[in-house]
């Protein structure tokens, strides 16, 4: 939190047409893991996205039961920010171009 180090950029697929990809936006995904507690994941989603409890729990259950959940679709900068926020909480989050 007090660090001022520049964040590394998350890996995304090669873009054949950056403009087109940019227009479609990017998806932020959260992946299941065997150790994070469910109430903790719900709390992190609420903090990161400002969601109410019901919406946060819905996505938490998707992560737990399906193995992943698409959390938001946004432009690259915001998607990258969200991924880093989730990773600060030790959640496994990635972004990928929206199709």
């Amino acid at each position: 939190m007090s660090s001022t180090t520049e964040l590394p950029a998350p890996k995304v697929d090669d873009l054949s047409d950056p403009k087109e990809i940019h227009d479609r936006g990017y998806l932020v995904l959260c992946w299941d893991d065997p150790v994070n507690l469910m109430p903790y994941v719900t709390h992190v989603f609420r903090q990161t996205f400002g969601w109410d409890r019901e919406r946060a729990e819905k996505h938490m259950r998707e992560v737990h039961e399906i193995g992943k959940s698409v959390l938001v679709r946004d432009n690259f900068e915001k998607a990258e920010f969200y991924v880093h926020e989730l990773q600060k909480y030790s959640l496994t989050a990635t972004l990928e171009p929206a199709e």
Partner: protein, 156 residues
């Protein structure tokens, strides 16, 4: 660790003496152990090794500074005020979130060093004084603090 009061931007927590010592141990010894024997990240789909290493480096720096920041707060007599029954510890909203992040990461690091056991704690417990025993203690204690924090923060 009990919630005494909460306002929009801050919360005041009651820590008894042992809880404060436990948190200081976690932020000191617990945080140093992850440097001596760092736990590798999850095998996340979509993240290549080189990116993961770079990101983990940044995250490690973030968590190290966070652990120091929390230790400093616990040792600051204006933020962690001695009172009957222990200490009243004032945490701004962002600091509570930082504490949650650090506790969770310490718990996960200890779990990984223990070989990622399917159960919460190995049964039987490792002999006292061994590295594995300390990691079990870190896992369990961080988990308790994490649950208490979440309970206080999520109650509306």
């Amino acid at each position: 660790m009990k919630l005494l009061s909460r306002e929009t931007d801050r919360a005041v927590w009651l820590l008894d003496t042992k809880e404060r010592e436990g948190l200081l141990f976690l932020m000191g010894t617990g945080a140093r152990r992850r440097e001596v024997n760092p736990a590798k990240g999850f095998d996340a789909v979509g993240i290549e090794d080189s990116d993961e290493t770079e990101l983990e480096g940044w995250l490690r720096e973030h968590r190290n500074s966070a652990s120091l920041e929390i230790s400093d707060q616990l040792n600051d007599p204006e933020l962690c005020v001695r009172r009957r029954g222990g200490h009243a510890w004032t945490l701004l909203h962002g600091q509570s979130e930082l504490l949650l992040q650090v506790l969770n990461e310490l718990r996960i690091s200890a779990w990984k060093r223990l070989g990622q056991p399917p159960e919460v704690l190995p049964d039987p417990l490792p002999p006292p004084g061994t590295d594995d025993y300390i990691d079990c203690w870190i896992m369990e204690t961080a988990s308790i603090f994490q649950s208490q924090l979440l309970q206080g923060l999520e109650n509306e």
